[in-house]
């Protein structure tokens, strides 16, 4: 009987640990991080037969909430205004915002809404990597995407205060989307853009209220 109880306890502990992977830091409980820093950046990378195209946006906004000890509780939404995308060529920016492409007037924001977390790996006490499933909305179409995400948690210190008050959460995310899934025409200034676009997001949020 003792053996059965012991085995059950170990199994229960193992299940709890495996389902409750989180940061092992001083801060505890549910935390909400706001991403409003203009240094946060989303990068859209694609290729054409003649040259590569990189679009950048520094107008990321949104927030995420999670229990520090369990990253599986992660929820939140991140959005990027279409009009903020810069490709380094004015005419290309205009094409990108036009109705055939992203239609900035009709669908002003690109949105990523977090739905779930899987494959959590503890890289360090304050660093986790995971696959984050979310609804990605662009050009009025919403599709589920899977992003590779790395999150680093820094408890407030004299060094972090130089950037923002409160604890800081660094997020690096990467995923691919297919243009045809979002009814986007793949011609940009007469050049055929690759079907797949790689999206990278690097952002830092603060939990200061």
């Amino acid at each position: 009987m003792k053996k059965i109880l012991k085995t059950s306890f170990v199994a229960l502990a193992a299940i709890t640990i495996s389902f409750a992977q989180g940061f092992k830091i001083e801060t505890t409980g549910e935390q909400t991080f706001n991403f409003e820093d203009k240094r946060n950046q989303a990068t859209f990378f694609s290729t054409t037969p003649l040259e590569d195209v990189t679009g950048i946006s520094n107008a990321i906004s949104g927030k995420v909430t999670f229990d520090v000890s369990d990253i599986n509780t992660l929820t939140g939404t991140i959005s990027i205004p279409v009009a903020s995308l810069d490709t380094g060529i004015e005419l290309r920016n205009e094409h990108l915002a036009s109705p055939n492409w992203m239609d900035a007037e009709g669908y002003p924001d690109i949105i990523f809404k977090i739905k779930g977390v899987s494959d959590v790996k503890v890289e360090a006490d304050n660093k986790l990597s995971a696959k984050v499933t979310g609804d990605f909305t662009a050009h009025g179409v919403t599709k589920e995407v899977l992003a590779d995400v790395t999150m680093t948690y820094l408890v407030e210190s004299e060094q972090t205060k130089k950037r923002a008050p409160g604890d800081l959460l660094g997020v690096q995310a990467s995923f691919n989307v297919n243009l045809s899934d979002y009814d986007i025409e793949n011609m940009l200034i007469g050049q055929k853009v690759a079907e797949e676009v790689k999206i990278d997001i690097g952002m830092v949020g603060s939990n200061a209220k």
């Binding site: 040259e51 290309r92 660094g170």
Partner: protein, 101 residues
């Protein structure tokens, strides 16, 4: 074709060839660019937060094969537009030196 017309054609071809050579030496970009993408320096805090270096478009001229648009004057400087101008000027001189018979 007289001697002067031959000279005009030769000079035109040399100038057009020169624009292509300059274009190749400038990196052979398809579009002329007035901005290039550069990576910003990563701070120690950014490294601690695990975020990749931020990029930004900075003003810089890259001579391309064709102009990407006709918004800025600098965008129009390309192999295609310069060759067009050289062809036009060469053509004018070619007809100017045409010997009347």
């Amino acid at each position: 074709m007289n001697k002067k017309q031959k000279q005009v054609i030769t000079i035109g071809i040399i100038l057009i060839a020169a624009t292509f050579i300059i274009w190749l030496l400038a990196g052979g970009d398809f579009f002329t660019k007035t901005q290039i993408l550069v990576e910003k320096e990563v701070t120690e805090l950014d490294q601690m937060l695990g975020v990749t270096p931020q990029k930004e478009y900075q003003d810089s001229f890259v001579f391309g094969l064709v102009p990407p648009g006709l918004v800025y004057t600098a965008e129009m400087i390309s192999v295609a537009t310069l060759s067009g101008v050289i062809l036009l000027i060469s053509g004018l001189f070619y007809f100017k030196y045409k010997t009347k018979t």
